[in-house]
Every structure is written in C-alpha cells, then in structure tokens.
C-alpha cells in the first residue's frame, strides 16, 4: 500500500503571445527565472528578433481593424480586461510574490492595475473630445483636427514593475487604437505572460497586443529600429541605451516616447496625455458651399 502522497501541482509553461496565440519562442531558447534563494521559478522564453519581427507583422495586420472598432467597443474591451484581471487577482498576487514583491504591495499592485484599466477604458470615447478641435479658418472651409492612432507601437515595459508598469503602458496605447508589441520586464516577466492570457480571454483581437519576454540587451535595438514600427516607448533605459534607441528610431522618423522615472503605481501616472503620446493629429479641410 502506497503512502498517502501529496498532490503534485501543475506548473505553468510561460510562453510568449503573438497574434493571439501562445507560441514558444522560435529560437527555442529560454532563461531561468530564479527566486531570491536561487530556486528556479520558471523557464521563461528568451524571445528573439524573429519573434519580434513576427509580432510586428501581427500588430500591423491587426491595427487598422482595431482602430476602426468603435470607441465604445474599445472601452468595453478594456473594461473586460479589467474584469478578467479581477477574476484572476490571486494568481497575479502570487506571481508578484514569487518574484519578490511583498504580499501587501503585490495586492495593491494588482488592484491598482485593475483600476487603471478601468480608468483608461473610460477614456476610450472621451479623449477624442478633449484633444480634437474645430479650427476657425479664415476661408470658406470647414476645418477640424482629430486624433488618429500612430499605428504600431513598440513598448519596452518598465523593468522594475511586474504588472502595473506593463498595464500602464499597454492600456493608453490600445485604447487609442494602436496595436503594440511589448517587451516584458526582464526581471519580473511572469505577470506579463499571465496578462497575455487575460487579454486573450477579454475579446482583444489577436495581434492588437503582442507580448514578448526576453533580454533587453538583445531586443532593445530591434524595438527601436524596425521600419514598420511607428512609435517606440521606453521606460527605464539608461542614458546610453536611450541614446541608442533614439538613434535607431530616426531611421524612419519614429516617435520616441520616454517614460523614465515615472512612479507607475501613483495616481499621477494615469492621465490622458499618455494616450495622446501615441496619437497623430489629422487636420481635414472641406469647402463650405452650395
């Protein structure tokens, strides 16, 4: 008679998220995420340039359709993401804790992330009204300026935050109709992968958000230089890296958005100007006549 054995928990395989699917990195490489004591928590995909390339293709394909979705729908989908995150609150708290965040702080981070999604969900059908203009030109023309998404945005998410930094950079990009390719925090990548699962369950069309895990040192330049990316967001690059990003970005006059030294959990880190960062102003003229 066998001894009564403890149930073996099923460990999660952390994959990347491209085009609404969860492949392993095409490179087949991984890096081991360890806890403070050096124990392996998970093997994380070491995403490659080719993964990034595939993600940009998916993001480009998905972007026009997402931009055309009504503002109301985009708002509802962001709200849905919040709902799904709320439902998996404990999982995210646990992942944050596993990556070294204290219990209270982890709970607070997840709660703030949920609330931030709600915050941006609410902006979906409002930011246009704040930032648009009807321009009183002198000639007999009707003239107005509206915001349009910049297109495909690459995001180097903050490294010092497993969830709130990620959410705070994805939400303003997609609420404005952009698609994005995100490089998760290198030191705390787990929540990013789980967040991809949340997105996947939240009616976010495949390709609108693509999340890679991997090494900054290998991928930063690609994120900045890809000719089919319209804007690059970075959050914690040192001066040298920031300069490298800016130089690479100039090849296609990419918009470069620096979000360094932002305390993401703070209320001051949520405002509609984050949405505006990845918007273009389009001005349209039309004659007024019979």
């Amino acid at each position: 008679m066998a001894a009564k054995s403890k149930r073996v928990p099923v460990a999660k395989t952390y994959k990347i998220y491209i085009d609404g699917k969860f492949p392993r990195t095409e490179s087949g490489r991984y890096f081991a995420l360890e806890d403070k004591k050096g124990a392996v928590i998970a093997n994380v995909c070491r995403g490659s340039r080719k993964d990034f390339r595939n993600a940009v293709v998916a993001a480009r394909k998905a972007q026009p359709g997402w931009a055309k979705a009504s503002a109301y729908l985009r708002g509802q989908i962001l709200y849905r993401i919040a709902e799904m995150l709320e439902g998996r609150r404990e999982q995210f708290v646990a992942e944050l804790r596993a990556q070294g965040v204290a219990n209270r702080a982890a709970e607070k981070e997840v709660d703030t992330s949920i609330d931030r999604l709600i915050y941006f969900a609410g902006w979906a059908d409002k930011y246009q009204q704040i930032f648009s203009a009807v321009n009183p030109v002198s000639s007999s023309h009707f003239n107005f300026s509206v915001l349009e998404p910049t297109g495909v945005v690459s995001v180097l998410a903050p490294d010092d935050s497993g969830l709130i930094g990620l959410v705070s950079n994805i939400a303003p990009a997609i609420v404005g109709g952009n698609s994005c390719v995100v490089l998760a925090s290198e030191s705390m990548p787990l929540c990013a992968v789980s967040f991809a699962e949340v997105l996947h369950a939240s009616d976010v069309p495949g390709g609108v958000v693509n999340i890679l895990t991997g090494f900054r040192s290998e991928l930063t330049e690609q994120f900045a230089s890809h000719m089919d990316v319209n804007a690059v967001v970075y959050c914690d690059a040192d001066k040298k890296t920031a300069a490298a990003i800016q130089v690479a970005a100039a090849d296609n006059i990419k918009r470069v958005i620096s979000r360094v030294r932002i305390r993401w959990p703070d209320a001051s880190a949520q405002h509609p100007y984050l949405i505006r960062d990845t918007q273009e102003v389009k001005t349209t003229w039309h004659p007024i006549g019979v």
Binding site: S140, H141, P287, I288, G289, V290
Partner: protein, 308 residues
C-alpha cells in the same frame, strides 16, 4: 410644327452625367482671374475688344421709338472725338422695336438682337413664343435672345425646356439664337451647368446668363461655369458656342476680368464679338472713359460722354 426632323440629331443629354460644380472652387478661380493685372497696351486692346463685344441694350416697358433711335445713334457714334474705335456688336431691344432699330442702323455693320419668348419671365405658351420669334426675325432681327422656361427646368421637366429651345431655334431660321438661362433664378451652379449643357445640345448658338431683370444677373462665377460647359461641349462635339454675360457689368475693370476669364478658359478663338458678348447698357461709357484716360493720362468725367 416640324420639330421631329431635327429631333433625330438633337437629343436631350443625360443631365445626371453633367459634372458637378463646387462653389468654393469656382469662387477661388474667379478670384484668381481678378488678380491678373492688365496694363498699358494690353489694357487698351482689351477695352477696344470690350466695346466691340457689347450688345447695347434697352429693355424697358417705357421704351419708345425715340429711345431706341437714340440708342442706335450711340451704337454708331460711340465717341466720335476718339478715332479708331470699333462699333458695338449689336443693339438689343424688344421685338416691337426691331423695325425701328433696323431703320436706324441701316447700312451699318451692327447686328439687331431681339429678345423673345415672353421675355423676361418666359411664361407664355409655346405657340406665342414661336410667333413672337418669327415676328422679330421678320422685322429684321438677326439675333434672338430667348429665355428658357425656368419653372419647367426647376420642376425637372427638362424635356419641355429642351423641346422649346429646339423649336425656337428652328423658328429663328438664319438668326443666331442666344439662350438666356436666367441664372439668378436657377439657384445653384450645378443647375447653371446643366441648363448650359441642355441649351447647347438643343442647338443654342450662344448661351446667356440673364435677362437683367432678376438679381443677381451676370456674375463671374456663373459665367465661368457656363464657359466651362462650352469648353466641354467643344471638346465633345467640335462645335463652338458663344457666351454672353448680361446685366450688372457696368465697370470696364470688371469687363476686363471677364476677358481674362474667357482667354484662360476657352482660349483665343473665342476672343471676338462672334463668340463673346456683353449684354450691357452703361458699360460702353465706362470703357470709353478708360480709353480716354489711357490716351490722355487724365481721369475722366461722365459729363463728357453721351448718355443715350
């Protein structure tokens, strides 16, 4: 009425295929013509050309043989103290006055234009319009300025308008037919363009903006639209159609702008009295004053120019 024989040649075109017109774009083009600066030799040439293109007009209920004779004298003697002036293209009168004008202009190379077809409203039965036209031609008019039935046009009864023009054209015989669209009653430039196309396909030799009895009368905007319609008709058929803006053109500067517009829209072939007229009563004197000013360098007074 023998309209059917001509019917085979002329068919009402599909007016829905006539290009639309954007008012603001037309205004901008017109403003551009007005920035042309016409100076020295080209101004003198233009002023003389304008004189030669004038249909000197009197169309009043109070017209009398005496008034018409005076007008004809003015047509002959524009300003005799100034040598080398052309004469006007025509005098334009009511049918009852054609005989008087014919007598007064005997032996002169000045055409006699008669309005007809229930001018200015056009609200008369076709039989009356035809009779009036024949009468005017018999009395000596070699140009007929008819009005279209605007009511029918606005009601969408294009066929009626088209048939009327064809019938009048036939009644004109050898007389040239100018078709007045009365653009001030058509309301939009789109309708002006359609009416132009309709009139040309129905056989108009000229298309003309206005009776002078309705405001606005001729404007550069409607004239441009009509010139563009003439150009398209020429492209399509090779037939030249003349243009006559009428009413409201009393300043030579404005008339010069019309010439600029004509030149840059239809080109030089149209720059003769055979293909372009001004329907005007007081333009001639302003042009004469300008010519005198060009000759003498001195600004002029109206008291030195005869008013008939």
């Amino acid at each position: 009425m023998a309209v059917s024989a001509v019917n085979a040649m002329h068919r009402l075109p599909d007016l829905s295929r006539v290009p639309v017109v954007d008012e603001v774009g037309v205004n901008e083009r017109v403003a551009r013509f007005q920035t042309r600066s016409i100076k020295s030799a080209s101004k003198i040439e233009a002023l003389k050309l304008i004189l030669s293109m004038i249909d000197l007009t009197t169309l009043e209920g109070q017209d009398t043989p005496g008034k018409v004779r005076q007008l004809c004298q003015k047509a002959i003697h524009l300003h005799d103290s100034m040598p080398g002036l052309p004469h006007v293209a025509a005098v334009c009168v009511y049918p009852t006055m054609v005989g008087i004008a014919r007598e007064a202009l005997q032996g002169r190379d000045i055409n006699i234009a008669s309005v007809a077809t229930g001018f200015p409203s056009g609200q008369a039965p076709l039989s009356v319009k035809l009779e009036e036209t024949r009468l005017a031609v018999e009395s000596g008019a070699n140009e007929i300025d008819m009005v279209i039935s605007r009511g029918a046009f606005l009601a969408g009864n294009y066929q009626l308008v088209f048939d009327e023009i064809m019938a009048i054209k036939e009644a004109c015989g050898d007389a040239h037919l100018k078709v007045i669209l009365e653009t001030g009653e058509l309301g939009t430039l789109d309708r002006v363009r359609r009416a132009s196309v309709l009139a040309m396909h129905a056989g108009a030799d000229f298309i003309k903006t206005s009776t002078g009895k309705i405001q606005p009368a001729a404007t550069m905007q409607v004239t441009l639209v009509m010139l563009q319609a003439i150009r398209d008709y020429f492209y399509e058929t090779g037939r030249m159609v003349g243009m006559k803006p009428a009413g409201g053109i009393s300043q030579s500067k404005l008339a010069v702008h019309y010439l600029v517009m004509l030149r840059e829209t239809l080109g030089n072939a149209w720059m003769t009295p055979e293909w372009f007229r001004f329907g005007a009563s007081s333009l001639a004197n302003d042009v004469l004053m300008q010519l005198q000013k060009q000759a003498t360098g001195v600004y002029q007074s109206a008291d030195y120019f005869s008013k008939d």
